[in-house]
Amino acid sequence: MSELKRTCLYQTHLDAGATMVDFGGWDMPVQYPSGIVSEHLYTRHNCSLFDVSHMGRLIVEGPERVKFLQHVLTSNVMALKLNQGQYCIIPNENGGAIDDAYLYLFEEDRFFLVVNAANTEKDLAYLQEKIKSFNCTIKNVSDEWASIAVQGPKSKEMLTTLSGGVQVTEPMRNALNSIELEGHFARIAKTGYTGEPLGYEVFIKTEDAKWLWNRLIELGAKPAGLGARDTLRLEAGLPLYGHEFGVDAGGKEIPIFAVPVGKVAVSFTPQKGDYIGRAALEKQSAALKRIREEDFSDMADLPRRLVPIALQDRGVMRAGMPIYKGDKHIGWLTSGTMVPYYLCEGQGITSRYSDETAKRAIGLAYVDSDIKTDDIVEVDIRGKRLHAVIVKEHMRVDSPPFARPIIYKLEEETEAKVGSDQHRMALDLIKLAQDNHQWRQKKCINLIPSENTASRAVQLLCQSDPSFRYAEHKKSLSFNNEDIFYYQGTKFIDQVEQMLVEQMRQYLGCTEVETRVISGQMANTAVFSALMDWKNRYNRRVEPQRLGYVLHNHILKGGHLSAQPMGALHDYAAIDPVTEKRAVVAFPVCADNPYKIDVEETKKIIDEYKPEFIIFGKSMVLHKEPVAAIKKFIDEQKMQTTIMYDMAHVLGLIGDHFQKPFAEGADIVTGSTHKTFFGPQRGVIGVNYKKDELKYGLWETIERRAFPGSVSNHHLGTQLGMLMAAYEMNTFKDAYQKAIIENAKYFAKCLKEAGLDVAGDPAISYTETHQVIVHVGYAQGPEVAERLEANNIIVNYQATPEEEGFTASGALRMGVSEMTRFGFGKDAFAKLAGLIADCVLNNRKVADEVEKLRSQYTEMKYCFNDAEMEEALNGFAGIIGL
């Protein structure tokens, strides 16, 4: 036993009472006195420390480091940007795994490769042999660095404490950073082997390891051993070399594509060249594609696959147990045990782990590739055949801060309740709608920044006759480019549309306007589609190219869904062949203010990516967008980049008190008409191209992509209402916009004074828009927003730029537009700020006081509410019978 290797934390483990075992030649803690079950659960609800210093840490450097790694790894090394990591596999010629590994780019000029402890010597010998043909070197730095995995929902908070508040890493998985932890240099990766949505692996100099370990224990973390590491990774469905990689129980090599994460780790980009195992892997990939299409005719290259399996009978499955379907032996368990989990209480996004726990027997199975999810199989547990089911997953990891166990349940056939007394239901519906209307309009204070109530005039117009009609129309060159209508009875609608276009041209300050799109998202889709069509106009006989690099605001930094590849950009954003990722790049934000675009850094990004298209605009917006500065830079660079400003949120703020997008150089503005603008729910597109310009053709393409590209019936009732809203806006915008900005700044100040943590720059009173962002504590947003709703205050919960996504939301997003329209001024917002603070900080019930405050402000301002208009509206309401 004396030859077992020890990590620099060996004595620390002994002092903590750990049970030590031989793991790949290392004397490692398998568990501490609290036991594996307790360590597993503590990781899931708090934070555990794992000594992973036994793993191999290698550095690859030299001129041909990329070429070398492209040759010996499965992944696309070129996809790594500075401070990113990627999972990869060291393949053999047969498409099997020599090892699986993680590749990190902490420094531009060298790669950091972490391999399995037991394989380090084997891997190093192999790589040293291969590297001989390349002008670069590999060295083992395992002794210089220790590795501590810090995993669990509290990990971020603990490490942020040690960093003195400095952001540990960007919130995305695989993000890296090099920072000081209380004066000790550390390299940190947002990675892990537990499935925890919040988890880090910290590389720290060997001599500092004990300090970091003990400091994290002081902050509340607990040590966990290899036993818990195994149950956690099994629950997360992650492979372990020697079980899911390597050879199976029958002695055959497991193909890389048999393992679900194998596919993620393998790239076939041409720039990888003919790397080791490529030919075999391409065959496996083709086989996997067939199998996924449920074509099981040729599974020779991928006869079996790894799938999660859950035992239905009582017992425990273990690695090596054979699996049967009927009489047929279909494979083996590769890993299996009983794992504990927390039962959840509550529903939806505010559901949380309860104190109650349970256990389940789960595993990973290597079974015939034609076995499907939900198939019932039998596991031979020491001679007894027990029932098990192939499941999709054991756990979901996409709702930080907590992992969510997925417990297999047979789906019960529930009969949909279809009532038969529609008359009764109709009456009930009226009652429900009336209650909702009363609550939202009379009792609630609505602070959703993307909402507004329309004036009575707008509402009545929306309900009048055009709302039942069609009026498709398109310009025709044969008829002097006049609009040709395909329906009769539409002359009034035609007039309305022309007047609306005129009013919106005046409002936006541009040459052309398209009003037929019925939402902001549709406006964006129509523009993206037009840009792509315009780009491909010279040759329509080949597959059209998608857009080149697009510069946008990332959703985690407040960007709108309609400018994300997962949203409206989906079908238009290309894949960069070098990185194999979406050709979309995000505006860099200021280090001291993540709500603000960093203009100088943006110029560097523009220089590097030469974006074809820039999309300004956000849904979490506190600042003006630097349109003029970027436009100036683009012009200086003599680039043809199209600049669009998606003004969804701030359409109603265009003018002297906020921004004039076209005056600042935007080519295109899109927006929705019902957030800060006064209209019903629609969209709008404005462009500033003149008839003699080349890009006027892009405008004409946008018109075609609006109709017939996006919409047939463009909702003619709300188009009529929209015209009234445009009249209102053009009349009242100066007073309204001034009030919005003043109210938002004052509201933010009052919230701050009431003790809340208001985001943004205090020097400008936190905001330059209608929005105010308040931090309420990491992942507390949903619960606090729910509490405010119960007290008649309606807000959005919102993830801040440092947070992982909506489930981790630690902020509230509020807007002053609707309440300003109902006459809220400084006094009312001061009172409201006090009530919100009381409800958020002291959990006081304020519903009645909110209702009372609301009741004092029910008359709409910034609209035509004179006697003459009232008489006209009464008459109109009578005529239309509403």
Binding site: T19, I36, V37, G315, P340
Partner: protein, 126 residues
């Protein structure tokens, strides 16, 4: 580690207590500690015959499975149903948590008293 004086022990780490012709069987503190978290106990049925020195069931921890070896031959007359839902009781209170009771005893292993068993465990731990 605890070795109650009133019990006898087998070399496979079960404890046994005989009263009025009924043998009550459990696992020792040393056994539960070595197993780690017990997550499942595979019990025989009442009426099953058990043989001294042979497995009558198994106990599964997170890490591994171990046979439960009967120190006596006889018939299972009672099983501890509590262990179906709460196998962790074997960790928390190994001597207060019996596994099976056996009557009609016909044979017995050579058992150790507390003192000899403690010495045996000390030897095994080396």
């Amino acid at each position: 580690m605890n070795y109650p004086k009133e019990l006898n022990y087998s070399k496979s780490h079960e404890w046994i207590k005989e009263e009025n012709g009924v043998a009550t069987v459990g696992i020792s503190d040393y056994a539960q500690d070595a197993l780690g978290d017990v997550v499942f106990v595979n019990l025989p049925a009442v009426g099953d015959a058990v043989t001294a020195g042979e497995a009558f069931g198994d106990v599964e921890s997170v890490k591994a499975v171990s046979d439960l070896v009967s120190p006596v031959s006889g018939t299972v007359c009672e099983i501890n149903e509590e262990l179906v839902d709460a196998p962790e009781k074997l960790n928390k209170d190994p001597y207060g948590t019996w596994i099976i009771k056996v009557n009609e005893i016909s044979d017995k292993e050579d058992l150790l008293n507390a003192e000899s068993y403690e010495a045996f465990c000390a030897q095994e731990a080396k």
